[in-house]
Symmetry: C2
Subunit: 233 residues, 2 copies
DNA sequence: CAAATTATTATGTGCAGACATATAACTCAA
DNA sequence: TTGAGTTATATGTCTGCACATAATAATTTG
């Protein structure tokens, strides 16, 4: 029994974590309710609530009204990972960042892109292909489609000077987005642009952003071999 | 101007989001302080605080004491993604789950594993190779090392019946973990176990879990081609 | 005995007020 | 001019209380 008072929500959280790790409260088990913990720790119920809610957010606890709070049976559940702004990621590693536009054209997108972005069939969209370089070495290959119907004024922008991502971030708010991580086998095109072997396994991020039901942009980022995305839990 | 009162923290959050999206508060700009917003919305400062803190957690706002709260310049910053429990992921898709142990031996691990897990050189570790199947089709290939120094009693367990992951989750609490997502080019071994073409690009998750400075286990999950990990922001 | 209703209970959220803490901004002396 | 010390201010958090809400458990009713 600790004599030190547990009054901040962080210390409540620590103590709860300690009990989970020490198996005092085992996976699947019900823990005492907020009022009991509050009186045990000598703090207000709101403080306990804050701590438990935070742990529930990270997936370590499961809470339901009336039913109470129990230790999650499968603790590894959620990881928060930082989606890097490519320029920042490269400069943070100490490399010089450079962006190079390979092509820009307005064409009717292929079927899968139409489906992803829920575009009208037959309408053209802006297609940009570019590469981001770290001290001259290809880092990530960007294949982007922009919906001109949702992004007014995009046609006049010179994307050779500013990356589409940066322009969009500054000029188009978005309300939602979805991200998919996957792997692909590099073909000739990827090998050429990323200066790697054809057939290499490449890490891919697909991202679509939306503003109130309309797709703004769909971008596929294909990273050079060896790219790792890291997070701690 | 809305006449409807904004009193719940969710509605405060919605209103703040609306203003960010409508560019009333632009990226990088300072927004009114909590007290002002509270009096504007007709609610308590604590309610505004809850809403703004939540938005800061998701990376849309940046807050600093005394300096105030400003709209983040790079809104796409953090994504929370669910780390799947493989059994659940497979059964959730409506497939039958099966786990098959391919090999189990106690050997001195290779250098990279020793480095990752910070093991003593020359000490043996338990090496398990297994595959998880969805209705008989290989879904993910699991290559795992377990530190017997940190996991007492692991040597007597029959991992042909229960997957190592499930046994560990139930029997070993962990305090920290780190996860890396990457891609690899499949070799002969992966092709054989996952029943795919050699040379295919494969999605990989590396995970190490720790209990108070000692590595419990390091596992590499290599997913069959076409695997996608999805999240929304 | 099953279905519908009511009571109970644990979490969820709101409020006002107070104090804590970080830090930007200012003041003043060397 | 610069560095150290001070002040003001916005966010961070705690408290005690109240009521809302969801969901289980108990009870009544047809």
């Amino acid at each position: 029994m600790t004599d030190t008072l547990i009054r901040s929500w962080q210390s409540v959280q620590e103590e709860v974590l300690r009990r989970i790790n020490a198996r005092i409260w085992k996976p699947g088990e019900l823990i005492p309710n907020e009022a009991e913990l509050a009186s045990e720790f000598g703090c207000a119920r709101a403080t306990v609530n804050r701590a438990l809610q935070n742990l529930a957010d990270t997936g370590l606890l499961e809470r339901r009204r009336k039913a109470g709070t129990r230790v999650a049976t499968h603790p590894i559940r959620k990881a928060t990972l930082d989606i890097p702004i490519i320029r920042n990621e490269i400069t943070a590693k100490g490399f010089a960042y450079r962006y190079s536009l390979i092509s820009s054209e307005k064409i009717v997108p292929p079927r899968d892109v139409i489906a992803r972005m829920q575009l009208e069939r037959g309408n053209k969209a802006l297609h940009l292909v570019a590469v981001h370089l770290a001290t001259g070495v290809p880092y990530v290959f960007e294949d982007r489609w922009i919906n001109p119907g949702a992004v007014s004024g995009v046609e006049g922008i010179d994307f050779t000077r500013q990356s589409a991502n940066e322009w969009l971030v500054e000029n188009m708010p978005f309300t939602a987005g979805d991200i998919t991580f996957t792997a692909m086998t590099g073909g000739r095109r990827e090998a050429e642009i990323l200066a790697c072997e054809p057939g290499a396994g490449l890490f891919v991020i697909d991202r679509t952003t939306w503003t109130k039901d309309r797709a703004i942009t769909f971008v596929r980022l294909v990273f050079a071999p060896g790219y790792r995305m890291h997070t701690v839990i």
